[in-house]
Amino acid sequence: MHVSYRFIRSEGLRFLSDARLRDHPALPFVGLEVALQFFDLPPGPAVSVDISDIVLPTASPAFKNLEADTLLILRKCLYAGKHLDLAARWAEGLMRFCEVRLSSLESRARQKWGTISAARLQLLEVGVFLLDAYFVQRDLRFLNTALKLTDQKWLFPPQPLLAFWPQPRLAAVWQWRMSLMITYLLAEIGAHHDG
């Protein structure tokens, strides 16, 4: 993945000003406060994450057990600072799967979700979840796997996904979010090593 600072800023300004995305139930801008500041972008919408009604996943943390809303539930747990052990177990399970099956990830994802668009959307959200998990738990392995996902051409094709045709496309937002978080996190780690 090679994404410029300018691209992250310009796409960020477009996405953050779109009311349909600001109110999107997938919470595309939650958990980004520090990273948005790093890029001198306006803050995301003030969203309070309510997890009182969520149904926690009970299946064993594995790629094969991912349901349509599993990742959103786990991300909400991370943002709310609750059920972090559960989120960590899922992050570990998904990380291991992506690492061991990296070369066949596309075919396995297509088999599970039926179409390339659905597969891409879900795997991008896996990448978003791994970065969120790293941000909370500071397990560098999650960042490592997210970086490898950005090298997958089917997830990050050379031509950027059309972001607003016909609706704001969540896949494009996830690509942007991953690029934003990764660029920020690598700078943060580098600065930490500088002491």
Binding site: E99, L102, S103, L140, L143, L147, I182, G190, H193, D194
Partner: protein
């Protein structure tokens, strides 16, 4: 005892076998994976990516070349100092140690030969996993020297991971028995290796290799003499690491170059 080698030219294998032989250890066979094997290349390329090509260059093409610019011991200087003259494992066949070639160490022909040899111990000098059918045919077990401190750092690129995570006291090597898990078997010897201010990341493994060779030989000797202590690992004590992405490797290199500058 027997030895499992990743290739006929592995200098690490040649040093381990010859140093064991000189201590009076009877090596009853060396099992060698064939190099020219498309299945093997595909499997290893999937695991290592383009790094496999650099590995092939270093371990096969440059294998005996001594780099006079380095000031530390390498496998090449160890071999020279110890007068280890063998160029391939086939030279051991001339000394009465049978050499068996295979495509996969877990294949039936290897298992059948192990049933015949009934080794008391085995030494593994290459990467990869061994299945239970092979492990149970190796007497007390199969020893491996992992380039990381167990149980904390299991898996791949653990030198880099320890440095990235700021755990410089967790850089070193561990001799352990192999089981079906990834670096989860009983520990026999732990050897932390301090980093020096002049160390460069791409040279670290080169500096580690002769140390790993000596640790392996000592561990074998201790096991065969009944003086080794086997310390079991618990799964929750460590983490499994995977190949590090180049973007993180660059951060490790930058951190190490700052050490060189004394920052």
């Amino acid at each position: 005892m027997v030895v499992f080698s990743p290739s006929r030219y592995s200098l690490y294998t040649l040093c381990v076998v010859e140093l064991l032989r000189r201590k009076g250890v009877r090596v009853s066979g060396i099992f060698v994976r064939r190099l020219v094997n498309p299945g093997r290349f595909i499997q290893e390329f999937r695991r290592d990516g383009k790094r496999l090509l650099r590995k092939i260059w270093r371990k096969l093409i440059l294998r005996r070349q001594v780099d006079r610019s380095v000031k530390y011991e390498t496998l090449q200087t160890l071999a020279r100092r110890e007068s280890i003259v063998q160029r391939s494992v086939d030279d051991f066949a001339d000394m009465g140690i049978p050499v068996f070639y295979c495509d996969d160490l877990n294949e039936p022909s290897v298992l059948a030969k192990l049933d015949e040899l009934r080794p008391r111990l085995a030494v593994f000098t290459g990467g990869g996993l061994l299945r239970s059918e092979l492990l149970k045919r190796c007497g007390e077990g199969v020893l491996n020297c992992h380039a990381g401190i167990l149980p904390r750092y299991r898996g791949m690129d653990v030198i880099e991971w320890a440095i990235l995570e700021g755990n410089l006291d967790q850089v070193g090597c561990t001799v352990h028995f192999m089981d079906e898990g990834v670096d989860t078997g009983d520990i026999v010897r732990l050897c932390p290796i301090p980093l020096h201010p002049g160390d460069e990341l791409h040279r670290l493994r080169e500096r580690f290799e002769p140390i790993m060779c000596r640790e392996m030989v000592s561990a074998c000797w201790d096991v065969l003499n009944g003086t080794a202590q086997r310390v079991p690992q618990r799964a929750e004590e460590g983490r499994q690491y995977f190949i590090m992405h180049p973007a993180l490797i660059r951060l490790v290199e930058e951190a190490m170059s700052r050490r060189v500058m004394g920052e």
